[in-house]
């Protein structure tokens, strides 16, 4: 006899299955019926927990947001310099995303779907990096150092780290097979620091 799931367990199972489907097919590519079928329940049970597909999608995103990486420990452990903090928080982000590549797939899908709310959600995940880089470069210029455009530099950083994650976790590119994702990221950060020059 199958044990009846508690409401909280049922909800967690729905979120896990929905995440995989949204990651594979995007928001528009998945129907409530399909999610219910995959779960082996009727759509009515699904609607009992989530009133609409949109609410379910938001709940999946919220679930990811609640597991927001904590960068506090990294900052406490660092000596407080830009390079050290950047390397430490990048490692935390990479470990967390590499452990859950469905998250990356959802980010890719949402970029194609063009929903403003989800675009904002995923952009916020990069904020710790983009803000840190822009803030540091602005301070460097204020103190008479070289002027480097922080907005452009943060895009460079975001692009290279995201591409490394795609290459390793989604495409599983044979070209980088011999290089763990953390090492790849570290070497990219070396290049990034050289690119921004003395401002790094």
């Amino acid at each position: 006899m199958t044990r009846r799931l508690k409401a909280s367990e049922r909800k967690a199972t729905i979120l896990a299955v929905a995440k995989v489907l949204f990651a594979d097919k995007g928001y528009h590519g998945v129907s409530v019926d399909e999610i219910a079928r995959r779960l082996g329940v009727s759509p009515a049970i699904l609607y009992r927990h989530f009133p609409s597909k949109e609410a379910l999608y938001e709940a999946v995103l919220n679930d990811i947001a609640c597991r927001r990486e904590s960068y506090v420990e990294a900052v406490v452990a660092s000596e407080g310099g830009f390079e050290d903090v950047l390397r430490r928080i990048t490692r935390i982000f990479i470990d967390s995303v590499a452990a859950d590549p469905d998250y990356l797939r959802m980010e890719m899908q949402s970029a194609l779907e063009g929903s403003e709310a989800t675009r904002q959600f995923f952009e916020n995940r990069w904020r710790p990096f983009t803000d840190l880089i822009e803030y540091h470069l602005a301070g460097h210029a204020r103190n008479g150092g070289a002027v480097v455009d922080g907005r452009v530099a943060s895009l460079l950083f975001q692009g290279m780290i995201r591409e490394a994650l795609y290459a390793k976790c989604i495409l599983k590119s044979p070209r980088y097979r011999d290089m763990p994702v953390a090492e790849l990221a570290d070497r990219l950060i070396d290049l990034f620091l050289r690119a921004i020059g003395p401002a790094g």
Binding site: Y71, V72, V75, V76, V85, R127, P128
Partner: protein, 77 residues
């Protein structure tokens, strides 16, 4: 008289910047002195709780008013 010794304006900054700046500000304080931080990032509430737990600084107060978060942190003696 203000009930803090140094104020850090971290408004508009997102994690990890408020924590990073607080860490640097606390280094300037003497033992027993208090740093007040004003932030706007909702995530800073959890972050400063974790920060104090991990660093041994004392979180005297954590309040919210009109979209701003205030934290008073005392450097241990």
């Amino acid at each position: 008289m203000a009930d803090f010794d140094l104020e850090l304006d971290a408004r508009g900054l997102n994690c990890p910047l408020p924590i990073l700046r607080a860490k640097k500000s606390i280094q300037q304080l003497g033992a027993g002195q208090v740093l007040r931080i004003v932030a706007t990032d909702p995530g800073s509430v959890k972050d400063f709780e974790a920060f104090c737990k991990q660093t041994g600084n004392e979180l005297l107060a954590s309040t919210q008013q009109g979209g701003e978060y205030r934290f008073d942190i005392r450097k241990p003696a």
